[in-house]
């Protein structure tokens, strides 16, 4: 499903954050990527999500070699991947109501007709009930907003889901609820998962296998 081969990536010339890293996620497989903060695991996740162009190496997503990243990535490839980030506050447009937040990818890809059915279905799947969907981001808690962000990531039915520290800011019960929602989706769709995190107990419990990264060698 996802093959990262010899990826080198970073933000400044000559100072790679990720160097010559390979990682593969098979179809339907859940892989945990474990490492301390600053080891470059989030950068690798961004490369896998086509959000960051690597300096070297190849990304093969669902059998297609990736040539373009970010807004240049072809839509068909981009929508193969769903991403959930660590901080829901930073990844949600504060002007949107939760319903519109979840529906945003459908609007962006010209699939408005599916909005009503799909949003209600997902809201139920992630446990957002009552009048929560009509509220703005500032009117809900971090946990509720992250539930909406997960629903948004699932709305286009991605075949690969990337969760970058999805639960790092959440309490134990919300963590368990979100992981259960991800797993329910994966059971239904056979989607693959790349879960990035620093909580070994969580990733071991969640994923089929966990890849450990050491701290970066360069200071």
């Amino acid at each position: 499903m996802l093959e990262l081969s010899n990826i080198t990536a970073g933000y400044e010339r000559g100072r790679p954050v990720v160097q010559d890293v390979s990682l593969a996620v098979a179809r339907g497989e859940a892989v945990g990527l474990l490492g301390p903060s600053g080891c470059g695991k989030s950068t690798l996740a961004r490369v896998a999500a086509l959000l960051h162009r690597p300096d070297a190496g190849t990304v093969v997503l669902d059998g297609t070699t990736v040539h373009d990243y970010r807004h240049r990535a072809p839509r068909a490839l981009r929508t193969t991947v769903g991403v959930v980030f660590q901080s829901p506050r930073l990844s949600a447009d504060p002007r949107l109501r939760l319903r519109d937040l979840i529906a945003e990818p459908l609007k962006a890809t010209g699939r408005r007709i599916e909005i009503r059915e799909r949003v209600d279905e997902l809201a139920h799947a992630v446990g957002l009930g009552g009048d929560l969907l009509t509220r703005g981001a500032h009117e809900v808690s971090d946990g509720q907003l992250q539930r909406a962000c997960l629903a948004r990531a699932l709305v286009l039915r991605p075949r690969l889901l990337i969760c970058d520290e999805m639960t790092a800011m959440l309490d134990a019960s919300t963590t368990a609820a979100l992981v259960a929602a991800v797993e329910a989706y994966r059971r239904e769709t056979k989607a693959s998962l790349l879960a990035v995190g620093h909580d070994q107990v969580l990733l071991d419990r969640w994923c089929d296998r966990t890849v450990s990264w050491a701290a970066p060698s360069a200071a």
């Binding site: 490492g35 903060s37 009930g129 309490d171 919300t174 368990a176 070994q200």
Partner: protein, 331 residues
């Protein structure tokens, strides 16, 4: 001010606790005329050399409690009760002038939630730490550089990173810089608001151990957290908050080990951990503006019955109609 002493909670060893919280309630007046009860009727004592972890889901009122202690609530907050320091100072009635000059930093040190945002982005760690040392410790001008280094060292902040700006620090080092700032004034009471959020496991443990060390030096630490692993590592006692109320206070060893929590919510929270059953508590916490009449946890509780239509009284240990009966091995 109703300062009811709860004899079963008082620490017999200490003369007067470092912090004595008595019936604290915080209500926010809303624009539509309604009220949101963010914290209700909260009573506990915290002794010197003790760490109390206040745990609960996000939005349960933990951080409002911290803001109340520091006098940092917005203007639409109504506060009742008392929060007494060991010399009798009531934090809730102290005016801004004495809070600023005599209390914040000197009597209470704050270890903030997101250190990267707490630090001033355009100044180096050294410059911020030196300013704090100059303000809070009577250090002659010549000794400032040495005193600043010493302050950094107390929080294990590496001296060769002092000239860096906050954005050049990793999450762990930013946390230590913030902790160093909190320790400068040698305050007897430390307030840590989610000090381990966003840190990786190794750093969580190191931060917790460093905070524990300051407790073992005789400070009192109120740690507000949703990280149960960090709480288990550091706390002497655990207070569980749900929908603005403390529903259980327990000895940490008994809470995390045997016999475990007594309140169904606390049990559910522990059971949700990936090292336990990894099962979420069904539903979500109630809106603080629309609390049910009886027990706020009843709609999510498998043991709820007709009795739960009335709010259970907090008996010093638990607020639940169905908590297990007294056990003989009570501490």
């Amino acid at each position: 001010m109703t300062a009811r002493a709860r004899s079963d909670r008082a620490n017999p060893g200490a003369a007067s606790p470092a912090l004595s919280m008595r019936n604290l309630s915080v209500r926010f007046r809303m624009r539509d005329g309604g009220h949101v009860a963010a914290v209700a009727d909260t009573t506990f004592d915290l002794a010197a050399g003790e760490c109390l972890a206040l745990v609960g889901e996000s939005g349960c009122g933990k951080s409002v409690l911290a803001s109340a202690l520091l006098g940092l609530l917005p203007a639409n907050a109504d506060v009742e009760g008392a929060a007494l320091l060991d010399d009798g100072t009531d934090l809730l009635t102290a005016d801004e002038r004495s809070l600023a000059r005599a209390i914040r930093g000197r009597r209470i040190g704050l270890v903030p939630q997101s250190p990267a945002a707490h630090l001033t982005p355009v100044r180096t760690v050294h410059s911020q730490l030196a300013e704090t040392v100059r303000e809070l410790a009577a250090v002659p001008r010549k000794g400032l550089r040495l005193a600043t280094r010493a302050a950094a060292e107390r929080a294990a902040f590496p001296a060769d990173h002092l000239d860096r700006y906050p954005h050049e620090l990793s999450g762990g080092l930013a946390q230590r810089a913030a902790t160093a700032l909190a320790l400068v004034g040698d305050a007897p009471l430390l307030l840590a608001d989610e000090p381990t959020t966003g840190l990786d496991r190794a750093l969580v443990e190191r931060t917790a151990d460093e905070l524990r060390r300051t407790v073992d030096e005789g400070r009192a630490l109120l740690m507000i957290t949703h990280d149960l692993a960090a709480a288990a590592r550091i706390a002497d006692r655990v207070a569980v908050m749900y929908a603005g109320r403390i529903v259980e206070i327990a000895d940490a060893t008994r809470f995390f080990g045997e016999p475990g929590p007594r309140h169904p919510y606390a049990r559910g929270l522990l059971d949700a951990l990936p090292e336990r059953s990894f099962r979420p508590i069904p539903g979500m916490p109630p809106e603080l503006g629309k609390l049910p009449a009886g027990c706020a946890f009843a709609p999510r509780c498998e043991r709820a019955d007709a009795l739960c239509g009335t709010r259970p009284r907090f008996d010093g240990r638990t607020a639940c109609h169905h908590a297990p009966a007294e056990d003989p091995s009570r501490a």
